[in-house]
């Protein structure tokens, strides 16, 4: 079978690189071995069935989980060497489930994103304020900045957390299922925001996505996991093929190209339910 080699992710030197990464939980082997590179300036999607190790991989890439063997390099350095706030200046994470917050205004929440850039006793500098305002603008939240977090809609809240991540001015933005629990309109809203950010600022984005159509619309590169193993990785058109997806998801689905550069995933529901 024609599975793309992991090294061919992009033209640039990869920003994050995994080398022989293995993760264990206790005595059980949960992930690996994984070798891959996340290209700078690209949108990379991580996909795979439930339990395939997507969130575990994210945690390894952000340095939350220490690898059992192998290593994760961030810009050529082992990620373990980036500690504390230095890590917060490089990597911003948007988690799958957000904490419910009230009693804080949206702007106050976003201002937390400046924590990695500030000293313990330091007040907000002009640079902090500029970054906060820019993050609010990018997410279209300027007019809501004074609102209490509890008074926001689901989509607004998700954008607020995104703005917090952007206020960190990170080199890479990592998102764990950013569109789950949002209705279709908010899903589109968030995805177009991400696409625009990547296009306009060249921000590197790494996202776990469940919806294969969203992957096709959004991702430059795709990392496909199955049962804790790297199944395929590479440019989206080479990974997102009918053959590969059928094998990973074990479903009668097909990738249909509707126009040049436009594709969508069709699931044969009748066949699947039969």
């Amino acid at each position: 079978m024609n599975r793309p080699a992991p090294e061919q992710t992009g033209p640039d030197q990869p920003l994050i690189r995994c080398q022989g990464l293995n993760l264990r939980r206790g005595a059980t082997h949960v992930l690996g071995p994984i070798d891959l590179g996340i290209a700078q300036g690209a949108i990379t999607a991580i996909c795979g069935p439930n339990g395939s190790g997507k969130t575990t991989l994210l945690n390894a890439l952000t340095g939350v989980l220490a690898p059992h063997s192998g290593q994760v390099l961030f810009a050529g350095q082992p990620i373990g060497r980036l500690r504390g706030r230095a890590l917060g200046r490089q990597i911003a994470v948007l988690r799958q489930h957000q904490d419910s917050v009230s009693g804080l205004s949206l702007r106050e929440l976003v201002a937390f994103g400046r924590f990695p850039h500030r000293g313990l006793m330091q007040r907000q500098t002009a640079a902090d304020r500029a970054a906060i305002t820019a993050a609010l603008e990018m997410c279209g939240l300027e007019t809501l900045a004074g609102r209490d977090m509890a008074a926001l809609s689901g989509g607004e809240r998700q954008r607020a957390w995104l703005a917090l991540a952007l206020a960190q001015e990170p080199r890479v933005l990592i998102l764990d299922e950013p569109t789950s629990y949002l209705d279709v309109r908010y899903q589109v809203e968030i995805l177009s925001l991400l696409k625009g950010l990547n296009r306009d600022t060249g921000l590197t984005i790494l996202a776990v996505l469940h919806d294969l159509d969203q992957v096709l619309q959004l991702a430059d590169a795709v990392v496909l996991l199955r049962k804790g193993q790297l199944f395929a990785a590479g440019p989206a058109p080479r990974v997102m093929t009918t053959e590969i997806l059928r094998e990973v998801y074990d479903l009668p689905l097909s990738v249909e190209t509707t126009a040049p550069g436009r594709a969508s995933v069709r699931i044969d529901w009748l066949g699947a339910l039969a």
Partner: protein
């Protein structure tokens, strides 16, 4: 519930056996109660010779002092056990009990008012029943009605109880200089009844018990739920009758022995744990078990007493507070917190009323100034400006500044624990920290440490940090109102232990009050000098933690994602809290409610961010404690009312407001 029946549970199938076991225990204890702790004046043989009534000193002692005390203990125990069982059924709340719901404290206050102010217009029993009804009614009303959540109702009841007890303490202190005796009395003593007094109350208690037994069937139905009981054709009559009988039982027991806690809470829960449900079985056993518990505690109190004076029985029973409440909260399925449907009712869950004071200290500083001025002017005689400079500053200055420093530290400690535990009801006193510090201080004194010295401070630090660690572990699954309920129960147990040690050591009763409710009486410049470095340390350390605290109040995970260190933060914040609490408590004793209210008030004024609320909380704490102390000195000079009691009177109503605000 547990799958395989333990030995005790198998007993539940044979209630008769259980009754026999408890009955024989009561008999043995009764035998012991007649001679234990008499320092040889009464021998076991004298008790056995009782039926022949030989003409000896021992016989006289037994008849005039030991026997009435035994009957009192039996009556109080049975009455409270029954009252607790009936109240828990009527409210369908395993945390309902005479002392938890303010019935006992209401009865005590009514009795004190009746005796000290009204010159006994009412018969004592009527006064206590009315007072108990008022206290219980107030608790239920403020707790959100009879159908409110069990934990919230219990917490509201505890706050009402604290408030009413504060009033009683004040009244007793104001009315009678010989406060020491009355303080012990309000801790529940068995030896204050003689035959005439008992014979006035006992028949009514017996009648009330009989009424409850008659209502047993109706109570069975009531336990199923009010709606169902109505559907089955049950009228409200029996419920009201049983409730009234419970009030009479509580009132009668207060007349006999003062408020005796935790029997009414523990007994029905033990029976329920054994699997007993039917009231015809539960009620007699509750009476028997209650009698056994109180009698056992009384025997213990007499045995431990020295020089012929026994310890207060109620205080011995107070030791049960924490184990009982924790057991109930762990066991009852309906009291478990709902799985994270409403995650983190954190400090941030307060309504975002942001009157965002741009410079809150501009308002706080003049307040501080006013508090200082008032503290210097008022007290034992009002001083003018000249006198203040001449003498007032020297005499009133130190305790004023100690009040400010201690209040500020408590305000900061409260703010830190509330952010750490994400619970606006957390505070040094609702976590049991202050009582732990005072217990440790008293223990250090027992070992010979000088009051206020370094060894005592070290002991206080150790005691506070151990308790903080334990509470943090217990609190892991205790959101909302459960945490303060556990903490308050823990406080009650620790305070009881402290009181027992104080009495056992023959310390002055004034000293006891000092450690348990906190006072600034007699503090001077050296005490202030010892406190100031701690104040600076606490303020500086807290300020350094502000950026991380802001984020941690949302979640630890967010803090970690942003590159902060949640564990380090919790460790450091915990250390600051422990230092603040240990330093203040070893200086002035346990002061309730300042550390609870100051942070909440500060957050209401400036919102959830700590850069401003830190200073404001410190300022509000300082002003509150300073005012409480000034009031305590000024209300009735030359008496010095403990600042802790005044703080409770101010704080408890505010706490209830806070609790009510969280309902929405």
């Amino acid at each position: 519930m547990s799958t395989r029946p333990s030995g005790a549970k198998r007993l539940a199938g044979h209630p008769l056996l259980l009754g026999l076991a408890a009955g024989s225990a009561v008999l043995i204890l009764a035998f012991l109660a007649l001679f234990v702790g008499s320092e040889g004046l009464i021998q076991a043989g004298d008790v056995l010779a009782m039926p022949s009534r030989p003409d000896t000193l021992a016989q006289v002692l037994i008849e005039t002092s030991r026997l009435p005390r035994l009957v009192a203990a039996l009556a109080v125990g049975a009455a409270l056990g029954l009252a607790g069982a009936v109240m828990q059924t009527l409210l369908r709340n395993p945390l309902a009990a005479p002392d938890i719901l303010g019935v006992s404290s209401g009865a005590l206050l009514a009795m004190a008012v009746n005796a000290l102010i009204l010159n006994e217009i009412f018969p004592p029993l009527l006064a206590t029943v009315l007072g108990g009804a008022a206290g219980g009614g107030l608790s239920i009303l403020l707790g959100g009605g009879p159908s409110a959540g069990p934990v919230r109702l219990a917490l509201a009841g505890v706050a009402v109880s604290l408030f009413i007890s504060g009033l009683s303490s004040l009244l007793i202190l104001l009315a009678d200089q010989r406060a020491s005796g009355l303080i012990l009395w309000s801790a529940g003593m068995m030896d204050q009844s003689d035959w005439p007094q008992l014979s006035a109350v006992l028949p009514l208690i017996a009648l009330a018990c009989a009424v409850m037994l008659v209502c047993a069937r109706a109570l069975d139905l009531h336990a199923l739920g009010a709606g169902l009981a109505k559907g089955l054709g049950l009228s409200r009559g029996p419920a009201i009758l049983a409730g009234l009988a419970a009030l009479i039982c509580v009132g009668g027991s207060v007349v006999i022995a003062g408020p005796v806690g935790f029997v009414g809470l523990a007994v029905p829960n033990i029976l329920r744990y054994l699997g007993l449900r039917r009231h015809l079985v539960v009620l007699p056993l509750a009476a028997l078990l209650g009698a056994m518990l109180v009698l056992g505690a009384d025997v213990l109190a007499q045995g431990l007493g020295r020089n012929g004076a026994s310890l207060p029985t109620g205080t011995v029973l107070g030791l049960l507070a924490a184990p009982v409440v924790i057991m109930i909260l762990r066991r009852s399925r309906d009291l478990r917190p709902e799985p994270n449907t409403n995650p983190g009712p954190g400090p941030a869950a307060l309504p975002a009323r942001r009157h965002s004071l741009a410079r809150p200290m501009i308002f706080a500083l003049p307040l501080l100034g006013l508090a200082v001025l008032a503290g210097l002017m008022f007290g034992d005689g009002t001083l003018g400006p000249g006198e203040i400079i001449a003498s007032g500053f020297q005499t009133r200055g130190p305790r004023l500044f100690i009040a400010l420093a201690a209040g500020a530290m408590l305000g900061v400690a409260g703010l830190l624990v509330q952010a750490q535990l994400r619970n606006p009801l957390a505070a040094p006193e609702t976590l049991g920290l202050q009582q732990a510090a005072s217990l440790a201080s008293v223990t250090a004194m027992l070992a010979g440490a000088a009051p206020g010295g370094t060894p005592m401070l070290i002991a206080a630090l150790a005691g506070t940090s151990a308790t903080f660690g334990a509470v943090t572990v217990l609190a892991r699954n205790s959101a909302g109102a459960r945490l303060p309920l556990i903490g308050i129960a823990l406080s009650a147990s620790l305070a009881a232990l402290t009181l027992l040690i104080v009495i056992h050591m023959d310390l002055h009763a004034a000293e006891a009050l000092h450690w348990i409710s906190g006072t600034l009486h007699g503090r001077g410049w050296p005490d202030l000098a010892r406190l100031l470095p701690w104040l600076l340390l606490v303020l500086l350390a807290a300020r350094l933690l502000v950026p991380m605290l802001d984020i941690a109040q949302v979640s630890d995970r967010l803090l970690a994602d942003l590159g902060g260190r949640p564990r380090l933060l919790h460790l450091l914040a915990g250390a600051v809290v422990v230092c603040a609490v240990a330093a203040t408590t070893s200086a002035i004793g346990a002061i309730a409610f300042v550390g609870l209210l100051a942070p909440n008030a500060a957050r209401m004024l400036v919102g959830a961010r700590h850069r401003q609320s830190l200073w404001l909380s410190a300022a509000i704490g300082a002003v509150t404690l300073c005012l409480a102390d000034t009031l305590g000195r000024a209300i009735m000079p030359p008496f010095d009312l403990p600042a802790g009691v005044i703080a409770t009177l101010i704080g408890a109503p505010a706490f209830l407001l806070l609790l009510a605000g969280r309902r929405s």
